[in-house]
Symmetry: C2
Subunit: 286 residues, 2 copies
Amino acid sequence: MKSYEISVIGLGLIGCSIVAGLKKNGFAHKVLGMDIDHEHEQQALKCGLIDEIVNIEQASKADIVIVATPVNVSARIVKTVLDISGGYTTVMDVGSTKKNIVESVEQHPAYRRFVPTHPMAGTEYSGPLAAKDDLFQGHTVIMLPYSDGDKDKEALVEQMYRTLGAEIVKMTPEKHDVSVAYVSHISHISSYALALTVLNKERSEENITNLAAGGFASTARLAKSSADMWVPIFTENKDAVVDVLDEYIENLILFKHAIKSSNADVVRTLITQANKVREVLDRNKK
Amino acid sequence: MKSYEISVIGLGLIGCSIVAGLKKNGFAHKVLGMDIDHEHEQQALKCGLIDEIVNIEQASKADIVIVATPVNVSARIVKTVLDISGGYTTVMDVGSTKKNIVESVEQHPAYRRFVPTHPMAGTEYSGPLAAKDDLFQGHTVIMLPYSDGDKDKEALVEQMYRTLGAEIVKMTPEKHDVSVAYVSHISHISSYALALTVLNKERSEENITNLAAGGFASTARLAKSSADMWVPIFTENKDAVVDVLDEYIENLILFKHAIKSSNADVVRTLITQANKVREVLDRNKK
């Protein structure tokens, strides 16, 4: 397997997990990294996730530049890297919303060298210390290449993800943003709101801890996720998020009225319909 | 350690997991079982979770009778067992709501032999095949003994749970029902409503499966839970559940308005407040 020099701009969970895997499997022979948070740079260096802390000029000289910053700044950084880097450099991002960045970068003359991606993996933790070299194993990576993009660069990114054990799905940015709002973004809002509710309602933190095994620990796990990552996602993907949030609230009101009026049959019907999620989720266990 | 003959009425996940653990550690030398679902009786017998399928008269002769049925029928069964059984028999339940059963059984002359409990453990699966002999290891069991209950029987139940690795917390039924509504019941409704929303919004099941790692798989896990168990819980604990559901809906509306008006500062504040759940949840990891 050919080995590459790779830069990571944004040393968070995703960026660091990618290079952790690529260093381990030999796809990367050298990793350069940078972050606005200098503590994260030092941590990534000390943990051997990156070999060198660089500036954006140096980062842009690598074979592959991975932009792994919050989604509200990614487009600007991708365009800067395209400005500086040469024709051999593949530039990719890993952000959770895609329409804005794909449209924005398309205005740049070198957009064909940019491969937009979204790996569907993560944990509720962030930063270099949360990196896991097997984070993408068995997970889906969505790729959203330009129809007239550079095919070799697209193939290189695809190959890179496959070495990490990921499966590739291709999608348009419009479809992607709506689908992730439905499946991923609403889950996070549901979890944040649950945490707010329980923290406010149950004043005894000890009680929460004691009772958390009754479902709360699992449902509220995502509420640990960082604001730096999620505020830009929700606001960038506003329309789809508000749309699904409306439907979610409607479903909760249905539950509330059925319980309030002790209509056990309606509660049963709602639960039985929700149970269908079992088949969909258990498909993952192939 | 002394060894006991134990009956389980209701061969679900909880009842079967308790006896699986007690057979393994020797606290139970013989287990009798019954269920209205004869397939569950056969499964429990074949898996060695119970030694004999019995009727309620036979079940009531054991040293300890564990009533592990849906909460809407438990009180009636506990009273029947108290009717039939002798003074040496300890009767206990494991239901997720406690006020109704504690008040109802208190009307029975032999109520002092009844020890109400609620083990805070479970999975989204049900029935004997879902039993796990280590289900209670490190988990909290809430005990809600009558102040004038039989202290020896209370101590026996406590000892039984401790052999399974559980930690005991004592609470009043009123406090219990409100706290579990806040922490556990709302989590299940949040998850059911999320599953309904996503199944309705995202028509492509393949997409849901592919994107589930983005948080949905974790948040919707509880939506697999059975209606037989949860319909009676929600209706029995109606007041507390509706109260917390109202607050949950309010918090979601807050999120919605903040996102809709692109008010990133409010979204950030809400997320940061929700993040406080981290400390509360991470206490479990002692």
